[in-house]
Subunit: 443 residues, 3 copies
C-alpha cells in the first residue's frame, strides 16, 4: 500500500544497538525518505516535458503550438486541482466524503511548528520524525502522478479537441476521478484490502489516462479525413520525429523516479536495495520493448517504424510499472516484450475500428497497463483474479465518469473545433500563432 511504509524501515531502527552493524537513525530515515520523494518526484515532474515533446513530434505542424499549450496547461491545472481537492479526497477523506470534507491541502502542522520554532527541541523533531517522511514531499510526489495520468489524455485527442473543454476535463480528472479510484488502493481502500497490487500505477495511473483517452476519442470522433470510405486509412505523419524521440528518452529517464520513488522509502538498507531492483527491472523492460517493436515492425511491415519503436519503449515501461519489484530480471524482459507486442498489434486494430489515437496512447497506456497489472498475477505476488477485478473496477468507474464529463462538455460548450479550424490547424485559430512560422515545404 502506497502510504504505509515497509516494516523494514521501522524495524531496522530497532537494531540500532545490535551487535553486527550500526543502523540508520530515525531522523536520518526521515530525511532519506523525504529526499527520495523530492528527487524521484522531480524526475516524474520532468515526464510532463517528455509527453509534451512526444506529442509535439507526433502531431502535424499546424497543431504543434496547441499541443504544447495543452501540455503545460494540463500539468499546471492538475497540480492546482490536486491541491484544492484531489489530495484530500484521496487520502484524508476517503470513505468519509459525506462527512467533513476539507478543500485545500494543508501542510502538516507538526512540520510547520518545527520550521517555525526558535529552537528545534527534542519534542518538535520527534513529532515530525514519527511520521517517517515529510508529508509535503509526499504531496509533491503524488501530485506529479496525477499530472502523468492527465498527460496521457492529450495525445490521443490531439489535433481536434478545443483547449478549454480539454482543460475542464483535466480539472475533473485530477480533482475527482483519479483520486477516488487511487484511494481504493493507495489510500487503503477496498481494492487494497482485497489484495490488488499495483506498485507504481499500471492501472491506477496509466490505464486511468488510457480509459479517459479512449472515451474521449469515441465521443470526440476521428480527425477529418483520417478514415476514408471502404476502410482506407489516411496516414497523418508527425512533423518532428527527433522531438518525439527526445520525449521518449525523457519519459524513460523520468520513469526511474516514477517506479523507483514508488518504493516510498529510502531510509533502510531494505528500501535502498528494493529501489535498486526497481531501477534494474524498469530499464530492462523498456529495453525489451524497443527491441521487440523493432523486430516486430521489421517482420510485419518490412521496415522498422521509429514511432512504433518509441511506443515499444513506453509500452515496456507501462507494463513493468505494476510490478517492477520482480526478483528475476529476466521476467521483466518478458513483461516488457509482451507489452510492446500488444501495443504494436493493437495500433492497426484501433484504426480498423476507426478509433483515432494520434500518438498511440491507448495501446501504450491502456493495453500495456492492463497487461502489466495482470502480469503481477502471473509472475509476481498478486492473484490473477484480484488483479483482473481491480482492472475492471477501475476501468468501469473511469470510463463511466469520463463519458459523463465528455458528454456534458460536448452538449454544452462543445469539445470539437470547427471543420475550418481543423483544416487550418488549431494553432492559428485557438492561439493565433504558428509553431514553425518559417518552415514549410513547397507543395
Amino acid at each position: 500500500m502506497r502510504k504505509i511504509f515497509a516494516f523494514g524501515v521501522l524495524t531496522s531502527a530497532l537494531f540500532f544497538t545490535g551487535p553486527a552493524f550500526a543502523a540508520v537513525s530515525e531522523e536520518t530515515t526521515y530525511i532519506l525518505n523525504t529526499f527520495s520523494f523530492l528527487v524521484n518526484g522531480v524526475l516524474v515532474m520532468f515526464m510532463a516535458a517528455g509527453f509534451a515533446m512526444l506529442e509535439s513530434g507526433l502531431v502535424r505542424a499546424k497543431n504543434t503550438a496547441a499541443i504544447c499549450l495543452k501540455n503545460i496547461a494540463l500539468y499546471s491545472v492538475a497540480g492546482l486541482a490536486y491541491y484544492v481537492v484531489g489530495y484530500n479526497l484521496m487520502y484524508v477523506d476517503v470513505g468519509n466524503i459525506m462527512g467533513k470534507f476539507a478543500l485545500f491541502y494543508n501542510p502538516s502542522g507538526a512540520e510547520l511548528a518545527l520550521i517555525n520554532a526558535e529552537e528545534a527541541t527534542d519534542g518538535l523533531v520527534s513529532a515530525v520524525v514519527d511520521s517517517g517522511y515529510s508529508t509535503m514531499s509526499d504531496w509533491f510526489f503524488q501530485m506529479v502522478f496525477v499530472a502523468t495520468a492527465a498527460s496521457i489524455v492529450s495525445g490521443t485527442l490531439a489535433e481536434r479537441i478545443k483547449v478549454w473543454p480539454f482543460i475542464i476535463f483535466v480539472t475533473v480528472l485530477s480533482a475527482v476521478i483519479y483520486p477516488i479510484q487511487a484511494s481504493w488502493v493507495w489510500g487503503g481502500g477496498w481494492l487494497d484490502a482485497a489484495g490488488f497490487s499495483d506498485f507504481a500505477g499500471s492501472t491506477l495511473v496509466h490505464s486511468v489516462g488510457g480509459w479517459a483517452a479512449l472515451t474521449g476519442a469515441l465521443i470526440l470522433g476521428a480527425r477529418r479525413g483520417k478514415y476514408g470510405s471502404g476502410g482506407s486509412i489516411h496516414p497523418m505523419p508527425g512533423a518532428n520525429l527527433p522531438l518525439a524521440t527526445l520525449g521518449t528518452f525523457i519519459l524513460w529517464f523520468g520513469w526511474f523516479g516514477f517506479n523507483g520513488g514508488s518504493q516510498l522509502a529510502l531510509g533502510s538498507a531494505l528500501d535502498a536495495s528494493a529501489m535498486a531492483l526497481v531501477f534494474v527491472n524498469t530499464n530492462l523492460a523498456a529495453a525489451a520493448g524497443v527491441v521487440t517493436a523493432m523486430a516486430l515492425t521489421q517482420a510485419i511491415y518490412g521496415k522498422m517504424d521509429l514511432s512504433m519503436c518509441l511506443n515499444g519503449a513506453l509500452a515496456g515501461l507501462v507494463s513493468i510499472t505494476a510490478g517492477p519489484d520482480l526478483q528475476n530480471p529476466l521476467l521483466s524482459i518478458i513483461v516488457g516484450g509482451v507489452g510492446a507486442t500488444l501495443a504494436v498489434l493493437v495500433v492497426p486494430l484501433l484504426d480498423k475500428v476507426k478509433i483515432d489515437d494520434v500518438v498511440g496512447a491507448i495501446p501504450v497506456h491502456l493495453v500495456a497497463g492492463i497487461w502489466g497489472t495482470l502480469a503481477v498475477g502471473i509472475f509476481g505476488s498478486g492473484s490473477f483474479t484480484t488483479q483482473l477485478m481491480g482492472i475492471v473496477a477501475v476501468g468501469v468507474f473511469v470510463s463511466v465518469v469520463s463519458s459523463v464529463v465528455w458528454l456534458a462538455l460536448k452538449y454544452t460548450i462543445g469539445i470539437r473545433v470547427s471543420e475550418e479550424e481543423e483544416e487550418m490547424g488549431l494553432d492559428t485559430f485557438e492561439l493565433g500563432l504558428e509553431a514553425y512560422p518559417e518552415f514549410g515545404r513547397a507543395m
Copy 2:
C-alpha cells in the same frame, strides 16, 4: 542568510542521546548537506539548457545558431569568471577589497587533506565535518546561480548583439557585478544586516539579470524594423515554439533545485521538511502563472498566446523565488498569479516605449522579480520597506555599473552587428553556418 545554516541542523545533532528518537550524526549531516548542493546544483546547471532552448525557440531561424552559441558560451564564461574572481569576491574578501584579494577559488585545505590522507583519522574527518558541508559543493551551487543571472541577459538582446562584446559583458557580470551585490545579502553584508530577505534570488539573481538586460536593451536599441512609424509594432515570431516549450519545462524542472537547494541544508528533519515545502510552493506558483496567463490572454486578446503562457510559468517561478517558504500554499498561488499578471501586462508596455526584449526576459525576470521580493514583505517574514530598499539598492548598483560596461563596449569595439548582418542573420556572418540549412518556406 545564504551561507549560514539554520540552527536546526546543529541543534538537532545535540539530541543524539535524546530519549524519543535517534538524530542524525554530524558526518551524515555533512554528507546530506553536500549531496543536496550537488543534486540541486546539477538541476540548476540544466537551466542553462532551458534558457538555450527557450531562446532558440523564440528567435528567428537566421539567428538561432548564434543564440545557441551565446548560451553555451555564457554558461562557460560565467563559471570560469566565478572561479577566477567572483566567488572569492562574494564570500572571501567582501568588505576587504582594498586588502589582500586573492584570485582563483581554492578548495578547502581541510577537505583536500582528508582526501589525500593515508588514513581518515578522527581529527581529519572532524575538521571537515565541522564546516557543515563541502565548500566545493557550495562553490558548485553558487556558480550555477551566477550562470543563471547571465543567462537572462542573452534573450533580451538576441538577434542584434555581437557575440564577443556580449561575452565580455557576461565576464564582468559574473566576476564583479553579481558577486558584489550578492555579497550584500548572501555574503552577510549590509543588506542582510538590515533584514532584507531573498530566499533564492528574485532580486539577487533574477532582477540582476533583468537590470543588465534592460540597460543593454536601451543602449543597444531595438531590432531594425521592429518599431515602425506611428507606433506600429512589427511582430517577429519565434521560429520553433516546441523548443521554447521544452525550454520552459526544463527551467521549471531546474527551478526545484534553484529554490529547494537554497534551503542550503538537508541534514536535519527541519531542513528536509523545509525543502519539501519549497518544492510544493514552487510548483503551485508556476502552475498559477500558467493558468493566469492563459485566462488573461484569452480575455484580452481573444486567443491564448503560447509564448505568453510559457512566460507566465516563468513569471510565477521568479515571483516565488524570494519567498518559497510561505507556510500557506494558497499564498504561493497568489504570488505566482500576480507575477504572471504583471508579466502579461508589461509586455505591451515595453513595446509601447520601444524597448525591444526578444524573449520577454524583462517582464519575467525583472518585473516579477521585484514583485516576488516585495511579496515577502507582504505575505512573508520580511519588512516591505526593507525589501523595497534592497530592490532599489541592487537596481541602482547593477543598472549603473552595467550601463558603464555596455557604453564602454559600445564606444570601443562596438556591440551591434551591421545592418547587413542583422538583415541576413547573425548565423551567417558571425558563425558562418545556418541553424536549419534544409528548412525554409517558399516565400
Copy 3:
C-alpha cells in the same frame, strides 16, 4: 579501482564512538552509496538522450529518423547484452572465462533475502550492509557506462550504415569487447595491478567507443560525395543545430553523474568531499573547452563554428574524465582546454585522410580520451608510461576485435546501404518515413 571502496568509507565507521563528532552508521553508508549509484546513474542514462539529440542535429534531415532509431536501439541493446553476458564477464568471471561462466546477471541473494523476509532481522540486514552498496545499483551504474561507449559509435558512422548490422556490432561491443577491457582495470585485472589510472573512463569508455568508431569508419568508407577529386571536401551541414546544442547540454548535465558517480561512494565525509571536487573540475574543464574552441575557431577560420564549440565542451569533458580528482581546479582548465584544442585541430586532419566522422566523435572521444588519460600521468597521480601502456593495450585490443567484427559483418550481411538508399536517405528506405515530413526548402 572501480569496484573497491576508498578505505575512508569503512574506516570512518570505526570512529563512531570517537570524541569529536558522530560518524555515519554502516547502514546509512550503504543507503547513501546505493542512492549515489542510482541518482548519478540516472544522469548518465540521460546521456543517451544527449547523444541522440547531438547526432539528430548534426546529420542531414533525410537520415534523422534513422539516427534516432539507432540511438534508442543501441541504448536498449547495450543494456540487454550487459545483462545477459557483459556484467558477469566484466566482474564475475574475468580470468576464469574457461571455467564456469554464467549467463544472466543475478541480483544478490542476500539483498533478495532481505527484501523477501517477513522481518528485517539483524543478520539479514548485516549480510547486506557488509557489501557497502546494493549490487543492483552497481549493475545499473555500470550498465549506463556500457551504453555510453556504444553511443559514441553511432554518430561517426551515421548516414550510411544499415541499422541491423550496427545493432549486431553494438551487441558484441556491449557483451564482450567493453567488458573484457574494462575488467583489466575496473574488474581488478592486470592493468589495475600495473597502476593504470582511469577514474571514470577517458580510456575505458570514451576511447573504446572512439576506436570502435574509427575502425568502423575505415571499413565502412566515407559518405558518397563527401570527398571529391583533388582533395576537395564537400560540407554536409547538420539539419538542426539547436537540437545539437541541446544534446551537448544534456551530455554536460549527465557528465556530473558520469564523473561524480565514479567516486563509487557517498557514505563518508571523504567521499562527499571528493564527489564535490569532481563536480567542480568537470564543469571547469568543459567550460575551458568551450572557450578554447571559440577562440581557436575565431582565430583559424575568422568565425566561431557552433558545432566546433559544442565539440569543445565535449572534448573538455572527455579529457577530464580520467582524472577529475585533480586538486587544483586550474589544472582542470588546462586539461579541458588542451583537449578542446586537440579536437579542433584533428577535425580537419581526419578530413585530409578521408576518414568521414559525421559528428566528430573520433576527435572528441578518442583523441581527447587519450589526452585525458595521459594528463593523469602528467598532472595527477599516475605514471605517464603506465598510462601510455594502458591506452595502447586498450587501443590494440578494441581495434583488432572491432575490425574483425566489422569485417565479418561486411562480408556476410553487409554494413552499407545501397547508393540509391544513401542518396534518398536512410529514413525512407530503412524506416519508411520521414523525420520532418512537412519541412523542406524550395531548391
